[in-house]
């Protein structure tokens, strides 16, 4: 399991261009391979909002801990750090030759729009799971609407767009709606 984790996070690290949210689609894909459910991934994303630190580090710790306990958490977290530890000394060593390298920025120009599409896909998948109770677009006919969750999603989206609220508040409000709904409906 540890080896599988290390391979997964090497892939996430070296293909993870563009920072935390751009890496989330990779993290989602790998976490599914490692056996995590969409709900567990959604919980990870909520914890990312509550706990300080880079998203990739938080995700590695969470996924490692859920799949293989403390040693898994440690291995996954250290693995996701490998690209930085390799790239920084290499770059500083060959700085004069790499500077103004058009190749890297060209690759980024392709990957950044890709990550926008990929994150949207993860968002749609999570929305299907939480609001419809189905995991893929193909099952949408079987979906059963969860009104409380639809309400939460719309409220959080609107608040985020309007006031850029701290995720901690959004999560508190979501939890409150979920709790109250349970006793009212």
């Amino acid at each position: 399991m540890i080896i599988t984790l290390i391979l997964a996070f090497l892939k996430i690290g070296f293909l993870g261009f563009g920072g935390g949210y751009a890496m989330l689609s990779l993290i989602y894909a790998e976490s599914a391979h490692l056996g995590l459910s969409a709900a567990q991934f959604a919980d990870l994303n909520a914890l990312d909002g509550l706990i300080p630190g880079p998203i990739a580090i938080n995700s590695a710790t969470y996924i490692g801990q859920l799949t293989a306990g403390f040693s898994g958490a440690l291995a996954a977290t250290l693995t996701v750090c490998v690209p930085s530890l390799v790239i920084v000394p290499l770059y500083l060593h060959f700085e004069h030759r790499i500077k103004n390298n058009w190749g890297l920025s060209a690759i980024l120009r392709g990957i950044k729009p890709a990550s926008a599409g990929l994150v949207l896909a993860v968002a749609v998948t999570l929305a299907l799971t939480t609001i419809g109770g189905v995991d893929t677009l193909g099952q949408i006919a079987k979906a059963q609407l969860n009104w409380a969750n639809l309400l939460v999603l719309v409220i959080v989206l609107l608040m985020d767009a309007k006031w850029h609220l701290n995720p901690v508040f959004s999560i508190l409000i979501a939890g409150l709606i979920g709790g109250v709904w349970y006793y009212l409906v």
């Binding site: 709900a39 909520a46 630190g53 880079p54 859920l66 996701v80 930085s84 058009w102 926008a116 349970y182």
Partner: protein, 180 residues
């Protein structure tokens, strides 16, 4: 005071008090390293910040490694890097262990389920943020829509799509470079 210890302390502090993503560390780093301790000129910090974003991996960590290496060589790099990830690791580990003990039934399930909906909303905002700054021409739009559909209909995996997109970026940039 030892430079490694100072780097470690500054990054540990910045990592502990900054939420949602590593880039939020930057103002703290600037205040502590550039202004108070004068270990690094401010323009160099920002140069490394821009540079870190072009590489794969954890951007905040890459940035910390650059700064650490510049201030005090290899040991500085490790000190800053360790300081940058340690709070995230320890706090997330504690949170995950706590999370594993939350009952998945009754009112707890209802609360967790609502929080998952909020989590989906965060991702819609994140996708909007990425789209707003990166989808400015027809090619980027096509790449984004292609990735969205290929993922939703389970045609290609995220790693494959990212490699493909990088290759498309390379190919499309080539002629432009020759012209200039």
């Amino acid at each position: 005071m030892n430079k490694d210890w100072q780097l470690f302390k500054v990054y540990l502090m910045a990592g502990t008090f900054t939420f949602s993503g590593g880039m939020a560390m930057l103002p703290v780093i600037e205040r502590e390293l550039c202004q108070k301790r004068q270990l690094l000129p401010r323009d160099e910090l920002y140069e490394y910040t821009t540079l870190s974003q072009t590489f794969p991996g954890v951007i905040a960590l890459t940035n910390a490694c650059f700064v650490g290496e510049k201030v005090n060589g290899k040991s500085g790099m490790l000190a800053a890097g360790l300081g940058a990830i340690l709070p995230a690791f320890v706090l997330m580990l504690a949170a995950t262990i706590g999370y594993q003990h939350v009952p998945q039934s009754g009112v707890f399930l209802s609360i967790m389920s609502a929080i998952r909906a909020a989590s989906a909303a965060f991702l819609f905002s994140a996708a909007y943020g990425l789209a707003r700054y990166n989808l400015k021409d027809p090619l980027s739009l096509a790449i984004a829509v292609g990735c969205l559909l290929a993922t939703l209909f389970n045609l290609l995996s995220a790693p494959t799509l990212i490699i493909l997109a990088g290759v498309i970026g390379l190919i499309s940039a080539r002629p432009r470079k020759e012209q200039s």
